[in-house]
Symmetry: C2
Subunit: 356 residues, 2 copies
């Protein structure tokens, strides 16, 4: 009971924090990940399954520790820093790590057609699109709270799962088997069940405007994810760090706009890094690494794996919070976790015959 | 919210009413069902699927109207009659309907080895076993409430779903595919989710004795159901009405014992039918017909179909109650219903290759 109450307050912050950060929710390889990445380019057939597992595990662990860090930072006191500068820092850090990884690749393999930074207008012209989609979604987020309260918004966010599945099918033209579709519906129902709390029923009183906005936001978010996958997969031999560099450049650009619009005065008067603590730095580092993991998952797996990974992370966070913060798990959480587990199982056994 | 509160009080009564009635939860053919039954014996191969669907639908509709009748009778006032005499009446009515159906069969087909009432000791000796199992379970029911409250008991009752599946596999040696097992776990989780209410979390505080008793009760109930199926299916050509007649004779016998133990004085002083109203008669009729439907499902389908049927009936009851009694459905109900629906779908697509 206590767990859910605190979690709801927290997860709203996770939402605002995470969603505004989303333009850069793609990746680059951190120094430690670089080597596996660059070798993977060479012998990718053999290592593909291994790589897929590693990036999925990394995303799951990073996403779950992300929520825990936010709870921890909240317990330590209120946010003193401006969220927009933190998001910009995340983008900048990812951009920097991309360049470091690229530099190492250039040193070991030399500059090739696939790993050189310079690009054509045709190639780069699609890169701002995900960032624009996330920006529109973040704008809508300010308006939806006129119709929906924060816990109800948490529930409605699970529509993302369905929209990602549908757009993945339509845009990337990849097939899911009937059992995998059933598993996807279960994933959505299971995640929502795990998040149920005594005030969840409010969501049923959501007015039609709220529903429309929630659905539009889910579509925008799903579209941005699927579009990013399409960009990254369009040229499989292209170095992921170059692709990320260009994605993050636009992420920085759009976050710069956000700083100017929202926090211009605060940054001018108090400075860019005002209120940053050790935990703020940890959170920025975690977000940057999570971004890397998301991008890796997009390159070596797909959006479906990403959705499963972040859903399992949500459950992991709750379980870890029991030990770290003494939260209590509800019966709904156990039931939702059971449904999510069965969904993961069904997704893996329900592969369509000529998979991928 | 209101729905769930009222439903919990009611469904506890459903429990006590239904469980004590259970020894006779098998069937005979009502006059209208008789013809389809007797013809089915002849051309059973062709009509098997049709018959299976009809009996399943009948069971679903009768079970859902059963709970509605109980809510209705409660609204009309408290039970004035003794539950044990009502249960005895249900058994007696089913016994009578069995005999009527048999009489019609004898007239049309003559007395054969398969439809004659007389039996060997070997054949009849197994018939009291389900009744004994239900009696032990009903005895346990009086003690479990020392450890578990009524809403928590409602939640724990869903263990029946799992125990039925496991015992069905072990005793009847029938195979479920992996996907069907997954579907069965989902059915249990979905039904429990649909019944969640703000006080459901109490169940997590159930002491170990409560868990043990709940599991033993689930096993007894599952065993009784599976054993009944084994008895009925042992001799497929045997007329179902003869099989039911002997089951119900023992049902009457054990209910007679229950009357003597619980309500002897009341029956002696006020009479057997004291407090019976029009709705009491309707309920007895409904219980008798539900018993018929369960028995038909055992003969022409199986325990798994029975569990699905009664689970869907539980959801139907809730939806119908919205219109009849102005109940409100919770978000948990929608989520649980979604999971149950997906489970039904998975059970049907997940058939093992050489099914049955």
């Amino acid at each position: 009971m206590e767990y859910r109450r605190v979690k709801d307050q927290e997860s709203y912050d996770v939402v605002s924090q995470k969603d505004i950060e989303s333009p850069g929710e793609r990746s680059l390889s951190s120094t430690s990940a670089t080597s596996s990445l660059s070798t993977a380019g060479a012998s990718k057939g053999k290592n593909s399954w291994k790589l897929k597992s590693i990036v999925t595990l990394a995303l799951t662990l990073l996403t779950s520790s992300q929520a825990i860090l936010i709870v921890w930072s909240k317990r330590a006191g209120k946010y003193e820093y401006s969220v927009t500068t933190a998001n910009f820092s995340v983008e900048a850090l990812k951009c920097l790590l991309s360049l470091i990884a690229l530099y190492r690749t250039w040193n070991s393999q030399g500059v090739t057609e696939d790993n050189r930074l310079s690009t054509s207008f045709d190639e780069v012209s699609v890169y701002p699109i995900p960032a624009i989609l996330y920006m529109v979604k973040n704008l809508l987020q300010y308006y939806i709270f006129a119709y929906v309260d924060a816990p109800a918004y948490q529930i409605l966010k699970n529509l993302n799962i369905i929209s990602t599945g549908v757009l993945y099918r339509i845009i990337l033209k990849k097939k899911l088997s009937e059992i995998q579709w059933a598993a996807f519906i279960l994933l959505c129902a299971g995640c929502t069940t795990a998040q149920l709390n005594p005030s969840s029923d409010h969501v049923l009183q959501t007015p039609i405007q709220g529903w429309v906005m929630a659905i539009v936001m889910a579509l925008l978010s799903g579209f941005a994810g699927v579009y990013t996958e399409a960009i990254i997969k369009k040229r499989p031999s292209r170095n992921i760090n170059v692709q990320n560099f260009w994605l993050y450049i636009f992420g920085m650009l759009f976050n710069l706009v956000a700083i100017c619009v929202q926090d211009f005065d605060a940054v001018m008067n108090k400075g860019f890094f005002h209120g940053y603590s050790f935990i703020t730095v940890l959170m920025i580092l975690n977000h940057a690494l999570s971004g890397i993991a998301v991008s890796m998952v997009m390159k070596y797996a797909d959006n479906i794996v990403k959705v499963y990974s972040t859903s399992v992370a949500m459950l992991l966070t709750a379980v870890v919070s029991v030990f770290l913060f003494g939260f209590h798990l509800s019966l709904a959480f156990f039931l939702g976790s059971t449904v999510v587990s069965v969904s993961v199982y069904l997704h893996s056994v329900g592969k369509p015959q000529p998979q991928k």
